[in-house]
């Protein structure tokens, strides 16, 4: 439902006003005042409850009841303002009729829309900073466990990457790479900073989402805001409305649709044998037709066996309403997602309950928001740990890598699952189904988030208004990380004869207290609003790790459980505190000139006392051209134009605690004479002078409303420069520091970009539709990397001064050697280089010029790992009782280093092959770009290079949601005001050339283009129902 209304300036013809008159004496006016009554309905004639109606220039308000009716005391000819957070606000003039029926018709955007900003709300038309408003109603059509995921493709300048497993936490970046550390934005929910993870909050409870992108908008969050701020407001009850009961629910199935083409048994054996023969090694017995151990009976299709159909469901029940002085909202939510991997994980289940209410009387107002959430996440078995040697890729890739000659089950082995033998298969290949079935890993999270506020109207006379607000919140998250490894044997390299248990807990608390004073005064054509405040925040993190091993069967897998021969405990406690002052002035002259100036002073415990305090000022100017008398444009074409510019500074202290303190490690163990001793020594070097990261942000924007509000357009340009970026600058290993990248304020980064968003709305008879689109560009540049300018290397990437972060870096492919003469003629690569090996380009040598030897001096930049464009497209339409929406998003112009692909195109190693490998170079198949097979790969063909397909285009367009709904007529069942059924297809298809799973994988900061292996996003088909009474 769109709750909007035509602005009064358009026409009153569409909005017929009927007013019932009732006279009440007004002390400040000679005019007669009376009681006007009205009914607010939407375009379909349905009553709209809960809309706030305010008499302009006063504090007199009313709220519509269940039948959409309101009454208000006012003078003839007075203006009322109809507002509602997340919807649009409208003005009407009260005329002589007895009863007014206000019909709200949809409008794409509206200037009077109220937007939640830092420490308050503002009309959209008054905003001078860069604030993106997310269309929450559309965004919520995407089923996800994490609110942050809803931002993908919905707001320009906001990039969301995520994996596809249940409970996946997306990575959100606002306006590019502004830091090398944690780049997640700050989330503020109902006015409280909740850190960088919001998974415990149900998307169903959300009323509105705003993204603050520049310094002006975000400066009041100072040192926490450099990565941008996402402001989320949850649903509240409405005054003077009876109990409203709403149910939303859906059920869907998940299926992985991206299947990697890998070789079957016969082809695997063919390729593996060829690799070994070419390396001069005997065949693996299991692949050798002449061996009694030759495997012919097993041909496992691991993807078919290991992937299953998952499912998801979500049920939400909410009760809300309010009386003359109070509001309330209670919501219960259940989300459950079973993943697509055979075995114990991944799954994610969450139960949550939210309660909020508010009471006001006289000059006082108090209220609270309380959330309790419990979740259980069965993690996909991690591939690191005591019994899994080597740097294994995420377990999802195991289903692609596992060799087809390995069976799934083997009752003879401990645990019952098959594994490889060095005497048969002679490869290290992981049975992912077995591992994911034997090992049990889960995380239980309980979170209580409570926020209580009180307001006092200290002064209200002669247009002066002064309010004091006290906001106190407490946020506690308790997590239990449980991991039990029974004794098991999955063969070669993957075995543990000892049963082991890790039972760990993490407890995080954050207490916040905020005091703010808000002063407002309107006189003549001036509007002034001043905010000052003070806040103090303290957080603690407690880690308790318990370990026991040597359990005997039958297992009692708790720390005190039977038979454990050895136990161990460890833990840590961390505190963080921040004290701040903040201030803001908004000044508005004649709705033409707007100024916002704000500042925050933060002092953080994360830095030594001399570097502790940071100041974060900002200023923004706005100019509404269309309100100038000398600009005379037809309002039905150019309705409103605003130019705005901002400049300011933000900070980032999100670097972990005690980083400036040099400490000793008191747990360095050694044994003398059979007795264990624990020594102590400094194991890491630190920089004791680290300080804030400072981001200077400039923003220029244009907001235009055209065609009487049916076309809405925004464009912005930003230039963000972050200095003193805290970065782990690698130091030589010979300094003997275990952390060979101590954090220092070393780098300067600049991000510039353009952002566009546009919405077009059209309504004709029974047919209405909306088209909205956004596009953003990001250009990143590293301006300095400290005194030494030493590049930072990531996985196949380099970050150096003058270019963007994490460019692909490696050798340059020049073709395939076809004969010995070509090898002799080319720069020396390896003594065993042979025809069929890759020819790499001789770029440089010790003297800076080609030296006829291929070594690490011949590496070069191979391309960008950061998308240059991000875009989102939404089309939604309604015809009679049907509604439809389609949402797609994508990114373009970047290259991906796909570990999944490269590992499948190995020449030796321990994995299956991609079918592409059948086209490898052989003496009879020379017209190819895929090198010969040789198990030892003496030429190092697998090295990081730009050989064909080693870097793949990341361009993609994903059809995120395709949804079709049907609305039953109101009153079909007694008391029912709304009933809608819908079907949605999610992640229906992705147009991509990329040969891995997700082109929007999550990655490390120094190798943004490196896909280590991300869980595929399943295709989800779901059906749902929405009811309200």
């Amino acid at each position: 439902m769109r709750l909007t209304c035509q602005p009064v300036l358009k026409s009153t013809v569409h909005c017929l006003l009927f007013i019932l008159l009732l006279i009440i004496a007004n002390t400040t006016s000679a005019q007669t005042s009376r009681n006007f009554k009205g009914v607010i309905t939407n375009e379909k004639g349905e009553p709209v409850p809960g809309v706030t109606v305010e008499l302009k220039g006063s504090k007199i308000t009313a709220v519509t009841d269940a039948s959409g009716a309101f009454s208000i005391q006012a003078n003839e000819g007075a203006t009322i303002v109809v507002t509602s957070v997340g919807y649009t606000a409208h003005q009407f003039i009260l005329r002589g009729e007895n009863l007014q029926s206000l019909t709200l018709s949809s409008s794409a955007q509206n200037l009077d829309q109220v937007v939640v900003v830092a420490y308050g709300t503002q009309r959209k038309k008054d905003i001078t900073g860069a604030v993106a408003v997310v269309n929450v109603a559309e965004a919520k059509k995407y089923s996800t466990s994490d609110v942050a995921q809803l931002l993908q493709g919905r707001a320009s300048g906001v990039q969301v990457n995520s994996d596809g497993q249940p409970g996946a936490t997306p990575s959100v970046r606002i306006r590019g790479f502004g830091t090398f550390g944690n780049a997640q934005p700050l989330y503020v929910i109902d006015g409280v900073q909740v850190g960088t993870v919001v998974r415990d909050f149900s998307p169903n409870d959300i009323e509105s989402i705003q993204v603050l992108k520049d310094a002006s908008a975000a400066a009041l969050y100072g040192s926490a805001a450099a990565n941008g701020v996402v402001i989320i407001t949850t649903k509240q009850g409405r005054k003077n409305s009876p109990l409203k009961v709403e149910y939303n629910g859906y059920y869907g199935i998940d299926k992985v649709w991206q299947i990697m083409p890998v070789t079957n048994r016969a082809n695997y054996q063919l390729l593996n044998n060829e690799a070994r023969v070419n390396a001069g090694r005997a065949l693996a017995p299991g692949n050798n037709p002449a061996s009694p151990k030759y495997i012919t009976a097993i041909d496992t299709d691991w993807q078919k066996e290991g992937l299953k159909t998952g499912n998801r469901q979500n049920h939400n029940l909410s009760l809300s309403g309010g009386g003359e002085y109070n509001t309330y909202n209670i919501s219960l939510d259940y989300f459950d997602n079973n993943g697509t991997y055979v075995g114990n994980g991944p799954t994610y289940t969450r139960y949550s309950a939210r309660v909020n209410s508010s009471v006001e009387k006289g000059i006082f107002k108090i209220g609270e928001n309380i959330l309790y959430a419990h979740s259980n996440e069965n993690l996909l078995t991690p591939t690191t740990g005591n019994d899994l040697a080597g740097a294994l890729p995420p377990l999802i890739n195991t289903l692609v890598f596992a060799i087809p000659t390995l069976g799934i089950y083997d009752p003879a082995r401990d645990g019952g699952y098959a594994g490889t033998l060095s005497t048969v298969e002679d490869v290290i290949s992981m049975n992912g189904i077995g591992l994911n079935s034997i090992l049990k890993n889960y995380t239980d999270v309980d979170r209580i988030f409570a926020n209580v506020y009180g307001e006092v109207q200290l002064l209200k006379s002669n247009g002066h208004s002064l309010r004091y607000r006290l906001n106190v919140s407490y946020d506690k998250t308790q997590a239990r990380d449980y991991g039990f490894k029974p004794s098991f044997d999955l063969g070669y390299f993957f075995q543990s004869p000892i049963a082991k248990l890790n039972d760990n807990s993490r407890v995080f608390t954050t207490g916040l207290i905020e005091n703010t004073l808000n002063y407002q005064k309107n006189f003549d054509r001036h509007g002034v609003e001043v905010l000052v405040g003070q806040t103090y925040q303290k957080s603690t993190s407690l880690f308790r790790n318990g370990y026991a091993e040597g359990f005997t069967k039958p297992y009692y897998p708790v720390l005190g459980g039977g038979g454990a021969t050895s136990t161990d405990a460890s833990g840590a406690f961390i505190e963080y505190a921040k004290a701040s002052y903040l201030a803001r002035i908004n000044y508005n002259f004649d709705d033409r000139y707007l100024i916002t100036a704000s500042a925050r002073r933060d002092a953080s415990s994360r830095f030594t006392s001399s570097e502790r305090v940071g100041y974060f000022p900002s200023i923004a100017l706005g100019w509404r051209l269309t309100n100038e008398k000398f600009i005379d444009l037809p309002k039905n074409i150019v309705t409103d134009i605003k130019l705005r510019a901002s400049y300011g500074k933000l900070g980032n202290d999100n670097i972990g605690d005690y980083q400036y303190q040099s400490v000793l490690n008191p747990g360095v163990v050694y044994t003398f004479n059979g007795v264990r001793y624990v020594g102590a020594i400094q194991t890491n070097l630190v920089d004791e002078k680290i300080k804030w990261e400072d981001r200077t942000s400039s923003n220029i924007g244009l907001d235009a409303v055209l065609l009487n509000g049916s076309f809405d357009f925004s464009a912005e340009y930003y230039n963000n420069k972050t200095i003193d970026v805290l970065v782990g600058v690698p130091i030589p290993l010979l300094y003997g520091s275990l952390n060979d990248r101590p954090t220092v304020n070393a780098a300067t980064l600049r991000n510039t970009g353009l952002e566009f968003s546009a919405t077009y709305h059209k309504s004709k008879g029974d047919f209405t539709y909306d088209i909205s689109a956004n596009l953003s560009t990001v250009k990143n540049e590293v301006l300095s990397l400290g005194a030494n300018k030493e590049p930072i290397y990531g996985v196949g990437s380099i970050t150096r001064v003058g270019t963007e972060v994490g460019q692909h870096y490696g050798f340059v492919y020049e073709g395939i050697f076809q004969n010995a003469a070509e090898i002799t003629a080319h720069a020396f690569q390896n003594i065993q280089t042979a025809p069929g090996d890759i020819k790499f380009k001789d770029i440089s040598g010790p003297d800076g010029k080609p030296d006829n030897v291929i070594n690490d001096l011949d590496r070069d930049v191979l391309g960008s790992g950061i998308p240059k464009y991000h875009y989102g497209l939404t089309f939604s339409a309604a015809y009679k009782n049907f509604d439809f929406s389609l949402f797609g998003s994508g990114s373009a112009k970047f290259l991906i280093y796909a570990r999944l692909y490269r590992d499948l195109m190995h020449t030796g190693g321990s994995a299956n092959y991609r079918d592409d490998m059948l086209n490898r170079w052989t003496p009879t198949n020379t017209n190819t770009t895929i090198p010969r097979l040789n198990e030892l790969d003496p030429n190092n063909n697998g090295r990081i290079s730009n050989r064909p397909d080693w870097l793949q285009s990341g361009n993609y367009l994903r059809l995120n949601t395709l949804s079709l709904g049907y609305n039953f007529r109101s009153g079909l069942i007694k008391g029912m005001s709304k009933a809608r059924v819908y079907v949605t297809a999610q992640n229906l298809y992705t147009f991509q050339k990329y040969k891995g799973y997700n082109p929007d994988f999550t990655s490390g900061v120094f190798n943004p283009g490196y896909d280590d292996g991300s869980y595929p996003k399943p295709r989800t088909i779901m059906g749902g129902i929405q009811l309200s009474f």
């Binding site: 200290l458 103090y536 001793y677 190693g909």
Partner: protein, 522 residues
């Protein structure tokens, strides 16, 4: 008026609250002591000394990669692993980006850093806190461990930078530069001399918390390794002086050969830190976090993965195999009772019915009967039915008394006292029940004795991380005849090219530190 007083009350309370806040920002890390004000108690001195040793139990030192990558370059050992790094190292074509190569570099410098912290921190402690006696012991250990690290770096990388303080200069222009081979060895000599001077012969009767702590470096550890270092650098006169300390000098009678050769490679108090051992790295059960690398904690394990890496097919990873040449070398000379040299079956797992050895890991020999596998430093025959991941704790012997004896014999031969070398060689041969060399091969000339010593060392020290070092110091790779022999011993040598006998300097280090020179293997 009422409103104003309420307002004032709030303002005052806010100010009171605010002024209290900033003091709350001085948060002290409750998890670990800070470095400021450390090194002031005796306990801290000893804790620091313990922590140095710990860095020798990780992947890049003696836990796996250092023995593995050293052994695999010898002519007695070849890689047979799906992990290409292990094979390529033996073939002398390991790229400078190899992980294990980097770990060896990294982990030895971690030992050096910790030794430097102790030398600086303990060095300035007042006698009122730490008696001179204790202080010398601790400093002596720091010098020894640092000297041993530089010795390993010199034999593995040929040359490397020297750090003698824990100070960290952040300016890349001042990053430590490569020291020449000469200067690096001089540092080894200096450190080991200081160690020998300061260390006690034994900890059995010292006064202090380290009393009875077998496993700490001793005077013998330093004196022996110093002698070996001089030998490596062909300073025979000084080497002779060092070794003579064991024969006729202050260390006389302290060390002796174990009657049973295999006892040197077994776990347990009866076999570890035994009379033959000059210094060894201690591995022991307990703990939960693997000691491959990284930040230690009190729950750290101290297991060695050499066993599971070396152990045979079906019982372990079998990442390496002995060469047929070394097997045959053992068979060249039977014992006085006509059996195979007992060191064969202590070194190599082989199916030998003639020597009553037909089992593997206490059970039936399951592999092809002609196959041979490493046995030294594995648990084959010591109880376990297979190598359990995390289940091996055999101390790694860094230097044995047999090395002193054969080293002294070599020194005597090089000093043209060839005849005097016989009895020292014979001590080692007698333990192996081999006949008297003076009878079998009397009156050898210097060159013949060199060949004999090479043979004796190959048998005595096979799979002990020594062979490639001997091959390098004897110059065999640059001697056409010897190189041809090596290629016959081990085809891996066919891909050797000059300079590649060392491991390459890790690429990441060269990228970061412009003062660092590549070596011939880069």
């Amino acid at each position: 008026m009422k409103k104003i007083s309420l307002f004032a009350l709030i303002i005052v309370s806010v100010i009171v609250f605010i002024t209290g806040c900033e003091k709350k920002l001085n948060l002290v890390n409750p998890n670990a002591p800070t470095t400021t004000g450390y090194w002031v108690t005796e306990k801290q001195a000893f804790d620091g000394s313990t922590a140095m040793y710990s860095a020798f139990t990780v992947d890049g030192t003696y836990m796996r990669s250092f023995p593995g990558l050293t052994d695999s370059r010898g002519d007695d050992f070849v890689g047979d692993s799906p992990w290409a790094d292990l094979v390529l190292t033996g073939k002398f074509i390991i790229p400078s980006t190899s992980g294990p190569v980097q770990w060896i570099w990294r982990d030895h410098y971690i030992v050096i850093n910790r030794a430097n912290q102790v030398i600086e921190g303990v060095g300035k402690m007042d006698a009122s806190i730490l008696s001179d006696d204790k202080k010398n012991r601790i400093l002596g250990q720091a010098y020894f461990l640092r000297g041993l690290s530089y010795y390993n770096l010199a034999t593995t990388f040929k040359f490397a930078p020297i750090l003698t303080t824990p100070e960290f200069d952040r300016n890349p222009g001042n990053y430590p530069a490569t020291a020449t081979e000469e200067v690096l060895w001089n540092q080894v000599f200096t450190d080991l001399q200081a160690a020998e001077l300061n260390l006690p012969i034994s900890y059995d009767n010292v006064v202090g918390p380290d009393k009875g702590q077998k496993g700490r470096a001793t005077k013998g550890s330093a004196a022996g390794l110093l002698g070996k270092s001089y030998l490596y650098r062909k300073d025979y006169a000084k080497a002779a002086l060092q070794f003579e300390k064991f024969i006729t000098g202050p260390l006389q009678g302290i060390y002796s050969l174990m009657p049973n050769y295999r006892d040197n490679f077994k776990e347990g108090v009866a076999f570890e830190n035994n009379s033959e051992s000059l210094f060894e790295i201690q591995f022991a059960p307990g703990g939960s976090t693997d000691n491959w690398c990284c930040e230690p904690n009190s729950g750290w394990r101290q297991w060695t993965s050499v066993s599971i890496t070396y152990g045979m097919d079906g019982k372990a990873f079998s990442d390496y195999l002995p060469t047929r040449w070394i097997y045959n070398e053992f068979k060249l000379e039977p014992t006085i009772t006509g059996k195979s040299d007992p060191r064969l079956l202590a070194t190599i797992a082989s199916y030998e019915p003639a020597d009553n050895s037909i089992t593997a890991y206490g059970g039936t020999w399951t592999n092809p009967l002609t196959n041979i596998y490493p046995r030294k430093y594995t648990n084959d025959g010591l109880g376990p039915a297979f190598e359990a991941f995390g289940g091996s704790f055999i101390n790694y012997r860094v230097m044995r008394y047999a090395d002193v004896l054969l080293g002294y014999a070599e020194v005597l031969n090089e000093l043209n006292r060839t005849a005097e070398a016989y009895p020292f060689i014979q001590q080692v041969r007698t333990r192996a029940t081999l006949p008297n060399l003076a009878t079998v091969k009397p009156n050898m000339n210097q060159a013949q004795m060199r060949d004999q010593l090479a043979h004796e060392r190959a048998l005595e020290f096979s799979i002990e991380g020594q062979r490639i070092n001997d091959i390098i110091r004897w110059g065999w790779l640059y001697n056409a005849t010897k190189l041809a022999e090596l290629k016959l011993h081990d085809t891996d040598f066919t891909s050797w090219t000059p300079g590649n006998e060392y491991l390459p300097i890790p690429q990441t280090e060269l990228d970061l530190n412009k003062n660092l020179l590549p070596n011939g293997a880069n």
